[in-house]
């Protein structure tokens, strides 16, 4: 939704749900390593990727996100042993359902990023921002009441 007033260039709004133990630290590492990733990525820290309710993803779209990405510990590395396994099943079903309803498939993504993978975090976010920018504004899951 955010279209740059000066250049008219479309900048996607991206919401990233990052788990506290791996991906959030990974994002931190990306920052402290001075790796660049788009400033339009808004990180929301969650205790575990399993905390991400499918409704959170929909709400993000409702409030104007153009893409939503969930990052968590690699399978097997969950701080709570098994949270990301449950999250993985949930997201697989949700993504399949979103596509079934005709929402473009590039708008949602899951990536496993460990605390040591600052590089991967930056690359993932750059790629994802590019994909979403190519798709343009999210019209199919927008809520007109939430428009600025």
């Amino acid at each position: 939704m955010p279209i740059n007033a000066e250049s008219g260039e479309f900048k996607p709004m991206i919401v990233a749900f990052c788990c506290n133990w791996c991906s959030y630290a990974g994002a931190d590492l990306a920052g402290s390593s001075r790796l660049s990733y788009p400033a339009d990525v808004k990180i929301i820290r969650v205790p575990c990727s399993c905390r991400v309710n499918p409704l959170f993803m929909l709400r993000a779209f409702q409030r104007g996100a153009d893409g939503v990405i969930m990052c968590g510990c690699h399978p097997g590395d969950c701080h709570y042993t098994s949270g990301n396994y449950f999250a993985r099943r949930r997201m697989a079903l949700l993504f399949s359902m979103l596509e079934y309803l005709g929402i473009e498939k590039g708008r949602v993504r899951v990536e496993w990023v460990s605390a040591a993978e600052g590089q991967k975090f930056a690359i993932t976010m750059n790629q994802f921002a590019e994909t979403v920018a190519a798709l343009g504004e999210c019209k199919r899951l927008e809520d007109l009441r939430c428009q600025p």
């Binding site: 499918p54 409704l55 929909l58 779209f61 409702q62 399978p75 097997g76 098994s82 396994y85 449950f86 993985r88 099943r89 949930r90 997201m91 697989a92 079903l93 949700l94 993504f95 399949s96 359902m97 979103l98 596509e99 079934y100 309803l101 005709g102 929402i103 473009e104 498939k105 590039g106 949602v108 993504r109 899951v110 990536e111 199919r140 899951l141 927008e142 809520d143 007109l144 009441r145």
Partner: protein, 338 residues
């Protein structure tokens, strides 16, 4: 092969017996509604009340869900401790009861489940579509239904006017029961229940989107789908939250329609027994089963075939995991489905 009327009499007699001296304090069944084609769920507390008992081709409402409230009220009264409630189940209803038992919504020892053979339930819309107006009464056999209406008498083949769920019947077996009356009616199983889902999957995203906009925009948020569902039985529902941003019973925005239906279907994913009640009760004829079956199809494809409610011990797919589960990214790449 007993006629449907005979089964009804058998059920009435058995319910009377159990109410009299079987330790059952109340029977859940159907009684005649306003029209001959809408029997409604009813509570019978005495033999005399059973005169209104109805079991015919329109006795499709699922009764098990009423057990939750019935038992809760009984407990509040504090009397009649340990009294049992009789509930009649068609084979497909038994999956719903099994889920309620599994999720501890209903206690097994409070329920006396009587399974009854089902001749296949009728769809009044299909009868109307066949040109019948003002239906007054009907006679049925396992193969034919004769309708007496102001538009004249008409005999229709049973298969042509069955509810959608009955065309893909799960078979005559009961997932849970204490006794079975009139088993072995022929069922109409064998249809491909995923045909509708597959057809939608083969469309382009644009076509799918407009298909679902067309369907979901009719939603009036009456919550009938939620209330009829045997697994939608949370004490506190996310949609009852005044802060949820869902405008109670009006649809303010297309997002709300999408969200309501995605979340409703997601909340029953892995627990939906595909009983078809949601689509049947929808006053706007939204094919909600197509959403549920998409999840069922995906679950079967990704995590192995699973029939919710068939086994009270099995773990639901979404409360379980395997190390080698499919990655969400792979699902997106291959375009969903299998």
């Amino acid at each position: 092969m007993p006629a449907v009327k005979e089964i009804q009499e058998k059920m009435r007699a058995r319910a009377g017996e159990l109410l009299r001296d079987g330790g059952v304090s109340m029977a859940l069944g159907w009684k005649r509604g306003e029209f001959c084609h809408d029997p409604e769920p009813a509570f019978f507390e005495s033999e005399a009340e059973l005169d209104n008992f109805v079991y015919d081709g329109f006795s499709s409402p699922l009764l098990s869900k009423y057990l939750i409230e019935t038992i809760r009220k009984d407990k509040q009264k504090g009397e009649g401790k340990g009294s049992k409630f009789l509930v009649f189940l068609k084979p497909c209803d038994s999956y719903g009861l099994n889920l309620l038992l599994k999720e501890h919504r209903v206690e097994r020892e409070r329920v006396y489940a009587v399974g009854v053979g089902c001749p296949g339930m009728l769809d009044v819309d299909k009868i109307r579509a066949a040109g019948v107006k003002n239906m007054r009464s009907f006679d049925e056999t396992e193969t034919e239904v004769t309708i007496h209406a102001s538009s004249g008498d008409k005999t229709l083949a049973r298969r042509d006017i069955l509810l959608e769920k009955c065309l893909v019947c799960k078979g005559p077996e009961f997932a849970v029961q204490d006794e079975v009356l009139a088993p072995g009616l022929p069922s109409f199983e064998g249809g491909d229940r995923f045909a509708g889902v597959t057809e939608l999957e083969s469309m382009s995203p644009e076509e799918r989107f407009s298909f679902w906009r067309n369907e979901l925009s009719r939603c009036i948020r009456c919550n009938a789908c939620r209330n009829a569902c045997p697994v939608c039985s949370c004490n506190k529902c996310v949609f009852d939250n005044p802060q949820s941003g869902v405008q109670a019973k009006s649809n303010a925005d297309s997002f709300e329609e999408n969200m309501f239906h995605i979340v409703r279907a997601f909340h029953v994913a892995g627990r939906c027994s595909d009983c078809g009640e949601c689509s049947r009760v929808c006053p706007q004829k939204i094919p909600l089963h197509l959403l549920n079956r998409k999840f069922i199809k995906d679950i079967n494809a990704f995590y192995g075939a699973f029939q919710a409610g068939a086994d009270a011990e099995a773990r639901a797919p979404l409360t379980n995991y395997e190390f080698g589960d499919v990655e969400p990214g792979a699902v997106v790449k291959r375009g969903g489905g299998a």
